[in-house]
Symmetry: C3
Subunit: 263 residues, 3 copies
C-alpha cells in the first residue's frame, strides 16, 4: 500500500462539520484522566470546541463518574502508582457502563511501568487508541524508537502494525503525525493538515485524545469520531499557524480557531 | 424578592477601587489548595492582580503555611484522598490561626466523596463559600442539577438557599453566574458584568475563589471582600471580551486587563 | 566586591548563541520533576527553545529515566512526601549515571519539610543550584527573609553566601534576580536584563531551572550552561516586555521570542 492509496478526509467534509455541530449542541460530558502537564490546556481545548470536560481522578470517584460521562480519556503521560489504580477502576467502570473511551499510551515503550499498565488497560477494551508512531509501535509489541514523548518513526511507517493492533484489540487506532492515520484494521483514513508548531506546544496530541473522547459522546462510529476530531484539529492548526509568530501565539490562536470553527 | 430589588455594585465603586489598591500595595500571601487543572492559571490571575500566591499542598506543610498566610483557598475540583487529608489539616490550622479562608465546592452534589469532604470542611468555618448555583444548592442540602463542574441552575434561582446556607454556616456565600450574588444571609449584593467566555476558559470561577482569598488578606469584611473581587473579575472580563477573537485570546487579555486595572 | 567588578555576559555573546544552537540541534531530552503549578509552562518553554522535555515522576520510572536523560531538574515547589521519594530516587540515579542535574529549592527556608528534603538532595551532588536570593540564603544555612516563593533579598546581597554554598556543595550556584549571578565559588558572572513581568508570570524562574538542565545536555561546563540559559531568558524577557500590554501577553510573547531567538 502506498500513502496515496489511502482515502483522505478533511474539513469541511459534511460529516466532520456535522459531528462538530453535535458536540457544540450537546456539550458531551467528557471524563478526562490525563497527565499533570496538560490538564489546563486539555480543558481549554474541549471548552473551545464546545464539549464539557471534567477531570475526576480520585479512586473514590472515577467509577461513579465514568458511568455518567459520555466519553472518557485515559492518558498515562505522568502516571504514578496511585493514578494507575484510578485508571484501572475507571476503565473497568467505563467498560461496564458502555461509556466509550480512549487510551493514550504516552511514552509507552520507553518506560517499563507505564508499558505494563497500558497493556493491562487494553483488557478493558478501549474504543480508540491514540498515539504517535513510536507509541503505537511499542503498544503493538514491536521495538519502538521512542524518545520520551516524541516520536522517531513516521505515522505511515507505523500503519501496518497499527492495523494489526486495531484488529487484535478491536479498537480503532489513531496514529498522529504529519498525516494522521485512523484505522479499524480494515478501513483506513488519512487526515492531512496541521503544522509543525503542533509538536512544539505541549499537549496538543494529548488534547486530541481528549477531544476524540468528546466526539465519541455524540458520534457512535469510532472511526468517524476519531477522523472528525483529527480533522478539526488539523484545520484549526493550519489556520492558527498562518496567524502566529511563534509557539506562544500559536497556542492562543489555536484555541481561538477552535472557538470559531463552523460557527 | 425580584432580581431588581437587590442592590448592585460594580467597578469603579470607590470601595472596590480601594480594595484592589490595597491588594497591590500589600501583595497578600495567599495559600492556595486547588485542583490540578487550574493551578497555573490561578497563580497568574493572583499575580496579575498584585497578590502573592503560594501553592503548598503537602500534609507536612499546610498547617505551618495556613498559619502565616493572609488568606487561604480550598478548592476540591480534583480532590484525592491524599488531598482531603491536607485540606482538612489546612482548614483546622486556618481556623486556629484565624486565617480567613474560602471554600470552593467544585462539583459537589455530582459526586459523593467530595460532597462528604466538603460538608466536613464546613465544620472548620470557612469565611466565604464560592460556587456556581448547582454547587451551592448541593451544599445547602438541596437536590442539585449539577453536571460535572457546569451549573444547570441560575444564580438567582439559588439565592434563597444560598441565604439559608450563609445563615446556617455563618459564612458569606458567593454564587457565581451571569450575575454574581454575594450574601451573608441578611444583606445581599449583586455583581453584574463579565462575559460568556468566562465559562469557556477553564478555572475562571476557581481563580475568583482564590482572588477572594487574597482580598480577605486586606479587607476584613468578607461580604465586601467577595464583592470587590467579583467586581474586579466582572470588569476585567467585560473589557477582555471586547478585545478577544476567541477563548484563547480572551484568557490572555483577561490577565492583561487585570494587570492594568486601577493603575 | 562591588557589583561593577563582576564581568557580565549577555546575548549575543558567541558562546551563548552557540549553546542555544546546540540545544536546537540536539533537542536534549530533559527529565523534569517540578511543581504542579508550572509543568505546562515549563514544557512549553523548553519546546520553544528547542529542547525535549519529559515529566516523569513515578517512583517506578524516575531512576530509569534519569539515566537516559541528558539533563534533569528537581524543583520542590509543591513537594509532597510521595514526590520526595521520587526525587531522592531520581537524584541518586542521576548521580550514578552521571546525568547532570539542577536543584531548584523553591521556598526553602520558609517551610521545614522541603528545607530538610532539599538539604538531603544536596548529598547527591546537583550540578547546579538555581534559586532566588532568599532560597539560596536559606540553603546556605543563613536565616532567609523568604515569603513563600518571592524573594525579599536582592541577588547581589546573596552573592557572598552563594559563593560559599558553591564551594561547599561543589555545585554552580545561580541566583536569580534583577541581575542574575552565576558562580562556581571562584568565578562569578553577572547576567543583566529581563523585565519585572518575569516575576509576575508564575514559573518563569522555575522554567529557567529546567532550561539550564537542557543546556547541560549540550554544554558540559556548568558555569557556562547556566550563564547561557540565563542570558537567553534575559533577552527573550526584555524583547517580550516591549511588545506586551500585561502579564498575559508577556507570557505569550516570551514563548514567541524564545521560538525565534537565534534563528
Amino acid at each position: 500500500m502506498s500513502a496515496s492509496d489511502i482515502p483522505q478526509k478533511t474539513w469541511p467534509s459534511p460529516e466532520i462539520v456535522s459531528d462538530l455541530a453535535e458536540v457544540r449542541k450537546h456539550a458531551p460530558l467528557t471524563h478526562v484522566l490525563t497527565n499533570i502537564v496538560v490538564t489546563n490546556w486539555t480543558a481549554n481545548v474541549l471548552l473551545a470546541a464546545g464539549a464539557s470536560p471534567a477531570m475526576v481522578i480520585a479512586e473514590e470517584e472515577v467509577s461513579e463518574f465514568a458511568a455518567i460521562a459520555s466519553g472518557m480519556l485515559i492518558n498515562v503521560g505522568t502516571i504514578t502508582s496511585f493514578d494507575a489504580k484510578s485508571m484501572k477502576s475507571a476503565a473497568i467502570a467505563a467498560q461496564k457502563a458502555r461509556t466509550p473511551w480512549v487510551l493514550d499510551p504516552v511514552a509507552v515503550g520507553a518506560l517499563k511501568f507505564r508499558t505494563e499498565v497500558a497493556k493491562e488497560l487494553l483488557q478493558y477494551k478501549p474504543t480508540i487508541i491514540r498515539g504517535n508512531a513510536s507509541e503505537i509501535l511499542a503498544l503493538a509489541g514491536a521495538v519502538g524508537g521512542g524518545k520520551g514523548v516524541d516520536s522517531t518513526a513516521s505515522s505511515f511507517d507505523a500503519l501496518p502494525l497499527a492495523q494489526e493492533l486495531a484488529t487484535r484489540s478491536e479498537a480503532v487506532v489513531a496514529v498522529s503525525g504529519e498525516v494522521d492515520y485512523i484505522t479499524d484494521g480494515k478501513e483506513t483514513i488519512a487526515v492531512p493538515g496541521g503544522h509543525i508548531f503542533m509538536t512544539k506546544v505541549t499537549g496538543v496530541g494529548c488534547s486530541l485524545g481528549a477531544l476524540i473522547a468528546s466526539f465519541l459522546g455524540v458520534q457512535k462510529d469510532p472511526l468517524r469520531a476519531a477522523v472528525s476530531a483529527s480533522a478539526v484539529f488539523a484545520i484549526a492548526g493550519s489556520r492558527a499557524a498562518e496567524k502566529s509568530s511563534g509557539t506562544g501565539s500559536f497556542a492562543v490562536t489555536f484555541l481561538d480557531e477552535l472557538t470559531n470553527l463552523g460557527i
